[in-house]
Amino acid sequence: MSGATPATEATEPQGKQEERGASSVLREILESSSLVVFAAILASLVLGGILIVVSSDDVATAAGYFFARPGDTFVAIGHSLGSAYAAMFNGAIYNTAADSFANGIKPLTQTLTMATPLIFAGLGLGLGFRAGLFNIGAQGQIVIGATLGAYVGFAWHLPVGLHLLVAVVGTMIGGALWGLIPGVLKATTGAHEVIVTIMLNYISVNLLAFLLSKDAFQQPGSDNPLAPPVDGSARYPSLLGSSYSLHWGFVLALLAAVGVWWLMERSTLGFTFRAVGSNPRAAKTAGMSVPLTYILVLTIAGALAGLAGSSQVLGTQPSLTTNVAASFGFDAITVALLGRSRPLGIVIAAILFGGLNASGPSLQVQAQLPIDVVLVVQSLIVLFIAAPPLVRFLFRLPEPRRVKEVTA
């Protein structure tokens, strides 16, 4: 899925289609090859490694007498890198210090748990990117989805099963509503989705802060801006038993990925989305409704982002706070770009990011590294992905073939 589907590939001279502005940048990023993506990850890990070495006190001390005993410096460098990568492995994949396999595998389940909201939101954003819409609004869509879902979860008391279903649908409706607004504005007035979605992010966070200052959204007996925890009946059941944080939301995320793949690659609607993304004028000439497509794409993207909110309030963080969306809305942009907007790519990229996030605690506690190193590595990946020529220059990769995927 992440590769080009041969049937839809066509040759076209690149120079002919002079796209300007954000959409051409977006297109170039989406069309960068898997090799470039891999090289970007590698380059950022190497740069992250340099950062780890430079920030290590031991290395600094040993380098102070480099000429007197150079070996020390290299030992210190090796040690700081070794402990950092060991901590990453222990925190994200398998804890080698655990007493049993069941405990050792916990970090991997944590990685998948942390990947879940990124899969949902990344799928939504990827959908928009392929339809030519640079949706920055996942953050707000997660917030509104989580707000509505959490409200259903703690204020309504429904039977087991039904409650979860209604709450999940609630998160989708919340997110879809928050995607519908920029969709309608773009379709009817031409308002640029980047600006509208960014503004809606602010509105959503402040709206949530306002709601959390009201008694209806606070725990009885407390004035803290913290909603009551969602009822047990509205939470995703855990997937591997209660000692693991992994919940059925992850499975739902994988199903959503399959659903989005089917939508984009097999359905008529998806073909319309892709056609509008490639060339809105041609799509219009072919009789497709471009405004309607914009509305639909942003609404579906919003619903998917809302589901990311469900993996928070119905999964790992049952009490709604203003911080519910963390930075998922923005991380998901990276995930979608890294996965080149294809469902499989997004799932893989989200798991990579989930792993980086899950390794944060052990990097800090075991390797004594600041959490910022993880953030820098993530940011470097974005930076390299956003500049394919830079990566090609660093790794001496050849220029891309003059073959272009029309269906980007």
Partner: protein
């Protein structure tokens, strides 16, 4: 141009090379491992105290930082081990606490009400580990008791000290209007504003004056919405000054520095610092700081760790910082224009609050 670059590069390289020329330490074995660095050389007590921040991080110039500094201080003094974990966001609370439990911490201190549930969960799952939480009672079912038997809540009756500040402000104002604002409307912030308002009202009652408080009426007030954006503090403060306020108490962490900047620019306006003594921590504004309402989080962390590691041992009795135990207090007035009668009255009120005859 190229030559300049070359000369610059040579200079830089030689500087680095020279820096690397110092002699190697005498008998040290190969470089110390990263793990050894944390154990201070003067290790005398076998104890490991750990701390998890909320999403603000340990450099928030507010309660995370105060707590962290207290931990560093006590670790240096006692020679105990520490480990800390900053939370990038709410998803990291649980995993961070778990990582610290796994690294065999004896005491884990969490900072802020956002970590309350995660702390209770971890405390119930790990009955052998001791926990303490700052600014929260760890009582998420609101039955009046802590939810786990091994959590020590650390809270502060900040309104007692803020009451004194309100009295001092009411006695000092030239315009008859004082003001306060918060970062967010949460109990640990509004308790300052409640005390301040009560102190001003107390002064009015005692002296038959009508000093007016802007920004907080006991229910609603002015909040900037976060603890980061100093420009918001500046504009809120400017608004207060335009409405005649000449003494302002910003309860918003670093946002308060924006308030101080606005007050300094306006002239004839005083600021009441919060959390620490701003004459010490923000010396650039020392000449406009009337006093500060101190909430000694660092000292409380120090005491809790000290007692658990080398004192009577860990106990879960809630630590409540009050005027009586010096956990909260009013900073010195230094050169601020507060008359000796007012200072004497404040001492009296302080004694009254401590013995319970005055209700803040």
């Amino acid at each position: 141009m190229k030559n300049t670059l070359r000369i610059g590069a040579i200079a830089a390289v030689s500087a680095i090379a020279l820096a690397a020329c110092s002699s190697a330490p005498e008998e040290e074995a190969p470089a110390t491992s990263a793990a050894d660095v944390t154990s201070a050389p003067a290790e005398t007590v076998d104890y490991k105290a750990c701390m998890v921040s909320d999403a603000g991080g340990f450099d928030d110039k507010s309660f995370n930082q105060s707590g962290f500094e207290g931990l560093q201080q006590v670790a240096a003094d006692l020679g105990i081990e520490t480990a800390t974990a900053e939370s990038a966001d709410g998803n990291a609370y649980g995993p961070n606490i778990t990582a610290l439990v796994d690294s065999s911490c004896d005491l884990i201190i969490t900072v802020g009400f956002l970590l309350s549930q995660a702390t209770v969960d971890a405390a119930l799952a790990n009955p052998d580990v001791n926990f303490a939480i700052i600014d929260d009672l760890a009582d998420n079912d609101y039955d009046g008791t802590t939810d786990a038997p091994n959590i020590k809540p650390i809270t502060f009756d900040t309104d007692e000290a803020a009451f004194l500040a309100g009295y001092a402000a009411a006695a000092t104002t030239q315009t008859g209007t004082v003001a306060t604002f918060g970062g967010m409307q949460i109990p640990s912030v509004t308790i300052f504003m409640d005390g301040f308002l009560a102190g001003v009202n107390y002064y009015n009652d005692q002296n038959g004056t009508t000093v007016n408080v802007l920004g907080w009426d006991g229910e609603n007030g002015s909040f900037t919405g976060d603890f980061d954006d100093q420009t918001k503090g500046q504009s809120v403060t400017q608004g207060f000054i335009d409405n005649g306020a000449d003494i302002i108490m910003p309860v918003a962490g670093p946002v308060g520095l924006g308030a101080a900047a606005a007050a300094q620019a306006a002239g004839n306006t005083w600021i009441i610092g919060v959390d620490s003594d701003w004459v010490q921590t923000a010396p650039e504004y020392a000449d406009i700081v009337l006093t500060s309402v101190m909430k000694k989080i660092g000292a409380s962390v120090y005491d809790v760790v000290d007692e658990a590691a080398v004192g009577a041992g860990f106990d879960v009795t809630p630590y409540v910082g009050t005027l009586a135990n010096d956990g909260v207090g009013l900073a010195d007035f230094y050169d601020a224009p507060v008359s000796d009668e007012v200072k004497a009255a404040i001492e009296e009120i302080k004694a009254g609050i401590i013995d319970g005859s005055i209700e803040p």
